[in-house]
Symmetry: C2
Subunit: 344 residues, 2 copies
């Protein structure tokens, strides 16, 4: 048997090496909830939630109080029937998506240990490893260039650059980075910061200067599906949705309205169940995928590495929080430069 | 290790108890290919293809010649990385979908035995059993009523009635069945046989007479998406696509063009990989699902029972070929009346 008997939450806080600055937000630390799912065979399934108020509206102290309600819904279920457990946890999609991700992963982790098959193989085992980018937050021009060059020199050939607070400054910064890191590719992420017209201007300037942008991520506001489509249809680079795509329903709408080239899946937005659905929807619609993260620690990072390798669905991987946080411990994965390997 | 070492095909033919008559087709027997996938740990994964020329364009003797090409693509792959194997087999989606289903299931069956977890739990374990309908082929009025009554008396509360060759005769037959089997529900399947206007007339007559039709399946031609939508929007009953939905791409188009209420998934049309995608797409779009079969024997029936219980995605199950064929052997499932249980 592999029946759920208990659920425990452990609150932790990790500091960023450098304050993490994106459009309208600066974070100095990341608070996470590590979830321990106890089975009657003695196995403990682990998962981790990195909550986001900005993206999910989640309040950390509030999430900590969800434990009883979640356990009540899944207590006594067998993780071998993991979809039954997922269905119960899906009831928290709206109010606690990061916890949904953590508990759903803990279910898979508990099953994985029970049957002695790593989670990434339970999910299909499509890849043995993935390569991650590294994110450079918003900063002044000089510091942005220094950080980008450091990352590129360390072997990160895709750099994720945060923009969206000041169009002209963004253009100057990205052009300076491109000059200093020749040969790199860039994921440029505006985190809702532009209007559609500003985004098109930005992309136009980049294209005229030959900047190798791999994805222009979330140029416009969360609910601006039309703006997203406008940017997408008027820009030479692939355009991706992040904040706009939280659930599988968002993904289907983006597909039906043909708004994007890319979808950025984050387990913290979608949990395992919606993330799996988004993979199938996007692949069927010939949309490409990237995977991102919030401020997960080692356990949370590991769950995304397993998901990414298992589904093998992602063209780009932005799984870098383990490099940005002062928390060296890695769990169920190892890093070799920019390569991340699932372990068991 | 659980590495693929060999693949064997075994041709078999099973006779129908009663010739199986649907629109423009009468079958007296069903030819199947049983697939044995040998792994280096000595385990043999089993699957079964029930080819269809009418639906898939497949020619039995031709399919038997696919063995070398399939083995060449998957030899040496580990079934633990089952999505890598699926991706290779997906290359046969167009020309040999029933073989695709059989080999993909054999991969899951081999993995399942390797890790000691039944396939239905590998797929999520959402249900412990399902209930199937029973299909009554096209016949004269008296025989149709006798067969329907027999099935209903045996406990089949959902009857699948074949129509589509003669509108007025169909109306008479179904009304007679409805009178003789009060309390039953019906899936009425025209197998492409009507025009949109005929289908709407048929549904209208049924509705006026209070017939409890649960799904009106494939009223119009395969490629008539617009006709399907017209029927769907002008009929009180849920309308479903069967022949029109073979691949995940068909499912997405049906969703984007909002043509149906139901999709009928058959592993023989879609294999495991597309069937999984169709489940996610349909559930996201709030379309309902039924699962059907071709002329599978015991092994093929078992694979659909595992798929249906694992995903738990289906409102109605039309997994009755084991009741229609003179081939009593059941494999990896057992039947109790109209209830089908996965076994290991």
């Amino acid at each position: 048997m592999s029946v759920i008997k208990n659920l425990q939450f452990k609150a932790e806080e990790f500091e960023y090496e450098v304050p993490f600055h994106i459009t309208n937000s600066v974070a100095t630390s990341s608070k996470v909830i590590t979830v321990e799912l106890l089975l009657d065979n003695g196995i403990v399934g682990l998962g981790q939630a990195s909550r986001s108020f900005r993206v999910n509206g989640e309040v950390f102290e509030g999430l900590l109080k969800y434990r009883d309600e979640i356990l009540d819904k899944i207590n006594g279920l067998d993780v071998r029937n993991y979809r039954r457990v997922f269905d119960q946890i899906d009831k928290f999609s709206r109010t606690a998506p990061s916890l949904k991700a953590a508990v759903q992963f803990a279910v898979l982790d508990g099953l994985s240990q029970t049957i002695n098959l790593p989670v990434y193989q339970l999910l299909g085992g499509r890849k043995d490893f993935i390569e991650t980018d590294l994110t450079i937050g918003i900063d002044n021009l000089e510091t942005t260039v220094i950080r980008a060059k450091e990352a590129f020199d360390k072997g990160f050939t895709t750099l994720k650059l945060k923009v969206g607070e000041d169009l002209n400054h963004d253009i100057d910064r990205v052009l300076a980075v491109a000059e200093a890191t020749e040969g790199a590719g860039y994921i440029v992420d505006a985190n809702l910061g532009y209007t559609a017209k500003e985004a098109i201007q930005f992309a136009d300037q980049m294209y005229k200067n030959g900047v190798n942008i791999r994805i222009f991520e979330q140029p416009v506001d969360v609910y601006d599906f039309d703006g997203m489509r406008l940017v997408r249809n008027n820009c030479h680079y692939p355009v991706g949705a992040d904040e706009t795509c939280k659930t599988k329903y968002d993904a289907l709408r983006l597909v039906r309205e043909d708004c994007v080239d890319y979808i950025n899946i984050k387990l913290m937005k979608s949990g395992i169940s919606d993330a799996l659905a988004i993979v199938e929807i996007a692949q069927t619609a010939n949309k490409k995928l990237m995977i991102g993260c919030m401020g997960e620690g080692g356990i949370g990072m590991g769950q995304s590495v397993h998901f990414a390798c298992g589904t093998g669905a992602f063209t780009y991987h932005d799984l870098d929080s383990c490099f940005l946080l002062k928390e060296p411990q890695k769990f169920r994965f190892k890093a070799d430069g920019n390569k991340l390997y699932p372990t068991f």
